[in-house]
């Protein structure tokens, strides 16, 4: 993340300088810290570039998002950025945007539309890849372990894209390793409280047999860590703990030696998005898909990186 933040300043200088753009940004909601950080990044980047932001929060509802986009069209904004609540269902309204001549940029999640002329580009993470990364790390870590490895999984909200993709990516890799078994999988709704409660139930029923916890986000992992401690086991030692997102809380847990690894899902791509918008409006060619730079952090790196984490 560090490298990118300095960029937008230069780029806003050399794009259509002085042109103040009105950018409509429709966010999913504020359902997690990750999302809040993402919103903040976008807001700050747009402000820093001297543009005007029309922000709308969809409160996790797709219909609200469609309404917001319609309102953006009515307000004749210069560009629309949005993080779709779901992949599907935006065809009609995106057509309206296209007819009105307003370019649309997708952030964080993609849409599932055949006619890809409806949007300019998609900038965001690859959730499936995140799942794969988590599994690959586990495979490496346990390369020398004999016998079965029992995994419990804390899923995200049922039906949500990150939950589905992170599960898919993870399962894809461990499918090649017959000794790895997901013994329990339940939704923890991406929250700490649920994560803790579900983990408690897992521990009740499977107890010491659990070797690995794979949580679809760090918050659930943090909740689960508390449950493990209360149960009397040592997180990260007795049970290997894998999270996704790399939020600050995860670094704290890792620094305290309670969590093994977290796969980054970087929300701070506001500046990158602003660059893309400006470039497009300046007439440049833009690739259809731009990936956000993401890595993976383990326990050993945590101490050192903790002070630099922003969210």
């Amino acid at each position: 993340t560090g490298g990118e933040t300095s960029e937008p300043k230069d780029s806003s200088g050399d794009s259509k300088s002085g042109d103040k753009l009105v950018i409509g940004f429709s966010q999913v909601g504020a359902e997690s810290e990750w999302r809040t950080a993402n919103t903040k990044s976008m807001q700050e980047a747009i402000k820093a570039a001297g543009h005007e932001l029309k922000f709308s929060d969809a409160q996790q509802k797709q219909e609200n998002q469609i309404k917001a986009i319609r309102s953006f069209i009515a307000q004749k904004v210069d560009a629309i950025v949005f993080s779709p609540v779901v992949e599907t269902g935006f065809e009609t309204v995106l057509k309206e945007a296209k007819d009105a001549g307003i370019p649309v940029f997708l952030s964080d999640r993609a849409v599932d539309i055949e006619d890809d002329s409806l949007w300019v580009t998609f900038l965001g993470s690859d959730f499936v890849e995140e799942g794969r990364k988590a599994a690959k790390w586990l495979v490496e870590e346990t390369a020398d372990v004999e016998g079965d490895i029992n995994i419990v999984e804390l899923q995200g909200t049922v039906g949500s894209a990150p939950a589905i993709d992170r599960k898919e990516g993870f399962e894809e890799i461990i499918a090649d390793h017959p000794n790895m078994k997901i013994v329990k999988s339940q939704t923890g709704d991406f929250t700490r409280a649920k994560g803790k409660e579900v983990m408690e139930a897992f521990l009740k029923s499977d107890g010491e047999n659990i070797d690995v916890l794979y949580a679809h986000n760090d918050d659930m992992a943090i909740g689960a860590i508390q449950a493990i401690e209360e149960y009397g086991l040592k997180p990260a030692e007795d049970i290997t703990i894998i999270g996704v997102d790399a939020v600050k809380g995860a670094f704290e847990a890792m620094a305290a030696g309670k969590m093994n690894v977290t796969v980054e899902c970087n929300p701070m791509f506001g500046p990158q998005m602003v660059d893309l918008i400006e470039a497009y409006l300046a007439g440049e060619e833009i690739p259809k898909r731009v990936a956000v730079e993401e890595s993976m952090y383990t326990m050993d790196q945590a101490e050192e990186l903790l002070p630099t984490r922003e969210y």
């Binding site: 409280a193 803790k196 139930a201 009740k204 009397g232």
Partner: protein, 341 residues
């Protein structure tokens, strides 16, 4: 009367617990571990504490023919306020803890005053009046936490929802205390009579000299207070405050618990013990779903079926049909389609 209201919910609760026994033979065992009682039953009580609290408050509100949709948001707000109050604190000094508790209780009672005033003084329908707080309250909670999940590093705070007293989770004591207070207020003072009276026939109550407005106000304040305590327990338990997710959908579960417990949404007679059983049914169902490994996709279907079964068992008409062949005469006499008042 009372007995028969509690009978069927109790049976359902037992069945759910017994189902667990099939999957886990040690389900009913309670053992001492690290100097604490542990076991599934203790867990269910412990986990169910927030829902129990909210449902107790909700019972009184529903008895006045109202409903409080704001409880989930109050939970979030209470958690946020509590976490904020201790955010600067560290070490083991207890002053910040008591400060936080006082602040949270104050705020949650205030939310109750807000709802109560809208309903009793301005005459807004309860469902809409409390909907306002349901929407805005979560916003306020997020405003307090700045949209982040606020982590608490102050250890005494964790005691409320995670501590143990006399080898049992402290939250159980809180529930017991609140239940005892509610029971005392409604059965050993005239408050219960007043609530039931206002809930059944507000105009007749007014003409009998009851101060319905204040009774309604009081009930919402109590509900707010209960939700506030629940919020404190929830946030203390995970040592963090999550403005967006804490207490999500608690209002529906609480109403469900109250109704399962035999209290009618049309107001009037209420059954605190029934509510307790209702909340325990919901909690044990949740725990059961988690521990016997039901696929998350069908969680809701299972829940729907259990809810229906409980309701049907409570319905005399259904029992008559079900057990009709066995004791036709007896059950027929008992059930009347219509009661005229």
């Amino acid at each position: 009367m009372m007995k028969s209201k509690l009978f069927w919910p109790l049976i359902v609760l037992l069945i759910i617990l017994l189902i667990n026994l099939i999957f886990d033979s040690s389900f009913f065992n309670i053992e001492v571990r690290n100097g604490r009682f542990t076991g599934s039953l203790v867990d269910i009580l412990n986990r169910g504490a927030p829902l129990l609290l909210v449902s107790i408050g909700m019972t009184l509100v529903i008895a006045t023919k109202g409903v409080d949709l704001g409880v989930g948001s109050v939970i979030a707000m209470a958690g946020a306020v509590g976490a904020m109050a201790v955010s600067g604190a560290s070490g083991d000094g207890l002053t910040p803890l008591f400060l936080a508790i006082a602040l949270v209780l104050g705020v949650s009672v205030l939310t109750g005053v807000w709802n109560g005033v809208l309903v009793s003084r301005i005459g807004v329908q309860p469902i809409v009046a409390t909907l306002i707080l349901m929407v805005a309250g979560r916003g306020i909670a997020q405003l307090i936490t700045d949209g982040q999940i606020m982590t608490v590093y102050y250890d005494p705070f964790k005691f409320i929802g995670g501590g143990y007293l006399l080898m049992l989770p402290f939250s159980i004591f809180i529930v017991a205390a609140v239940l005892a207070i509610a029971g005392f207020l409604t059965r050993k003072t005239a408050l219960g009579l007043f609530i039931e009276s206002v809930g059944t026939n507000p105009e007749a109550s007014r003409l009998s000299g009851l101060n319905s407005k204040n009774i309604i106000l009081m009930v919402y304040m109590f509900s707010g207070l209960c939700a506030g305590i629940a919020g404190l327990i929830l946030s203390s338990n995970v040592a963090s405050a999550d403005g967006n997710n804490a207490g999500l959908w608690y209002e529906l579960d609480a109403i469900l618990a109250v109704v399962i417990g035999g209290t009618s949404l049309n107001g009037g007679r209420f059954y605190l013990m029934g509510t307790v059983i209702g909340a325990l049914i919901i909690q044990s169902l949740t725990t059961t779903i988690y521990s016997i490994g039901i696929a998350p996709e069908i969680n809701l279907v299972v829940k729907a079926i259990v809810v229906l079964i409980v309701c049907l068992l409570q319905s005399p008409e259904f029992r008559k049909r079900l057990f009709g062949g066995l004791s036709v005469k007896k059950s027929e006499k008992k059930s009347e389609g219509v009661t005229i008042s």
